[in-house]
Symmetry: C2
Subunit: 332 residues, 2 copies
């Protein structure tokens, strides 16, 4: 799957070697925070930080930097906002090889004031998340973060709902932007591997052709998050998102313990992550925090819908799946 | 993914049409029976039979036809043996389009006496399961079942442990056998999609080239059972195994509700299966019957080991995953 070569030579990617350009990105606190309203304990966050470093993870995303004008801090855990002081309470000066990321959501972030100059922050990378119609706003956010000194990615969400003409136009604009990487985001867990290979190959052609990296962020609605991640990697995606035990909104994401077991770069090991699962994730699950593959999420994935209806269905402890299917059909 | 054409024209397989040659095979009672020692209620089996018919499933495998000289019927549920009378108590004369299958395990089946002549049985298909070194025995079983009038498949197990020379030789023999179909069986859930495509393509070349069908039976150790099934289908496998809610030994199998949602032949619908899940499978899970993806199975999958060590680990309620990993490394 991975290559010792560069992205110009995709045919070199195979299972007996590795690709040093690959970057693993742990998004547990950010996407997993959508499950428990960012209500992680101090010990959980500190242990995750240390487990990620021990596992050789390249980036750890701590959460969103959301607008406090739009979201009341009393209603959320602290990782919705990722205040500099809260980050430093965990990572200090982050004297480690692992980089720190936060997500800035287009339209839900006061980026001009809340993203500090790079020299005043422990954050290394700002991930700008946007929908296709927000690209002009995203470009301003990318310029802002880049001018402040950060690595910047653009995570173009819900691409399975975007028509090909709009996507081609959007990718051309992003290829000319200052972003270091552009992500394929399968927000609804809708894509099959054969579609994912084609879509990622398009990004690699347009975005990679402009000298930028391509990333992949999957959802597990059809139990395809890991499969799609390694297939995306196969055709040239180098920034690979994952979460511990797949913790993330709805069906969750690509399991970090799986991806780290798959990747052959000797710097990676899944052991600290599976130990973290034993210590923290089993407890979270036992406490009733719910995520992961389930029929309602499978249905929203197949039907290319936002998972919100399925999340509510599961929260309400309903099991009349056929009725949900009928409801979703009306919404599709 | 599916094609309206035939297997000679693989390039026709895409996501906007379907392939009428595809056959879905529900193996819930057989592979799932390995989880609960074949202890299904009468209502479960009857409802599953009816749900499968309503869903358009092509074959339903009821269990093994195991030797009563080797296995004491007092120690197992009835679907370990699939006595003719027990089958008929559920299906009568099976006045339905769905065909009935049983598995005959090489070395664990008194096939000469226990497989009745086709005209005395409600069974349509005998699936001969064997390891590579049992091919001569399997050939005798295939000849026996074929002479008695059955459709016959050969399910060559644990192929991820077989070296290429032996496999090529074995496939050549099976291509010349009387079997109607030969299965790729990923017993340990070890294969990645890119490997699966290559392996299935080899079977399609050798087995398909001899006018036979190719089947696929996956395990979900790396959450790849569904992905590998549809990728196998993409490159020409037509007999596709699945189990309701993925119920099967260890990490289980390809989820029937997912495969039926994926396949585009109008004769298929997942609704009766998801209703069956709501009625029966949630209850089984609540009663403590355990199967499905978990870190111990992921580790045996990655390390290409039999799941038995992981099954015991989970039964013992251990969570010291790192120690299991070390134990498995010694066994690999």
């Amino acid at each position: 799957m991975q290559s010792a070569g560069n992205t110009d030579n995709m045919s070199e990617r195979n299972l007996m070697t590795y690709c040093p350009e690959i970057r693993t990105v742990d998004a547990t606190l950010r996407d997993g925070g959508l499950v428990n309203n960012f209500g992680f304990t101090e010990e959980f966050v500190k242990d995750l930080y240390e487990a990620n470093i021990a596992a050789g993870v390249d980036y750890m995303e701590f959460g969103y930097r959301a607008s406090k004008k739009m979201f009341d801090p009393k209603d959320f855990g602290k990782w919705k906002f990722c205040d500099e002081a809260d980050l430093r309470a965990v990572v200090g000066e982050n004297d480690s090889p692992m980089k720190i990321a936060v997500m800035a959501d287009a339209g839900r972030c006061d980026y001009k004031t809340d993203i500090l100059p790079r020299e005043d922050s422990v954050v290394d990378m700002v991930r700008v998340a946007c929908y296709i119609h927000q690209i002009p706003l995203a470009l301003d956010m990318i310029d802002d973060a880049k001018a402040k000194g950060y690595e910047v990615t653009c995570n173009l969400m819900a691409v399975s709902k975007v028509n090909t003409e709009d996507l081609d136009q959007g990718l051309k604009i992003l290829a000319e932007s200052k972003a270091d990487a552009v992500y394929v985001v399968d927000s609804f867990g809708n894509y099959y591997p054969e579609q994912m290979r084609k879509l990622v190959a398009k990004y690699v052609d347009v975005i990679g052709g402009a000298g930028k990296q391509v990333g992949f962020h999957g959802h597990n609605n059809q139990q395809l998050a890991f499969a799609n991640t390694i297939e995306a990697c196969r055709v040239g995606a180098n920034y690979l998102d994952m979460t511990v035990n797949g913790m993330g909104r709805g069906a969750g994401n690509c399991f970090a313990e799986q991806l780290l077991s798959f990747l052959k770069n000797p710097k990676y090991t899944a052991i600290p992550i599976i130990n973290f699962v034993a210590k923290h994730m089993l407890k979270l699950k036992a406490e009733g925090v719910v995520w992961g593959y389930d029929i309602p999420y499978m249905l929203t994935g197949v039907l290319n819908c936002h998972p919100s209806t399925a999340i509510k269905f599961i929260k309400d402890k309903r099991t009349d799946y056929a009725k949900l299917y009928a409801e979703l059909m009306e919404m599709s």
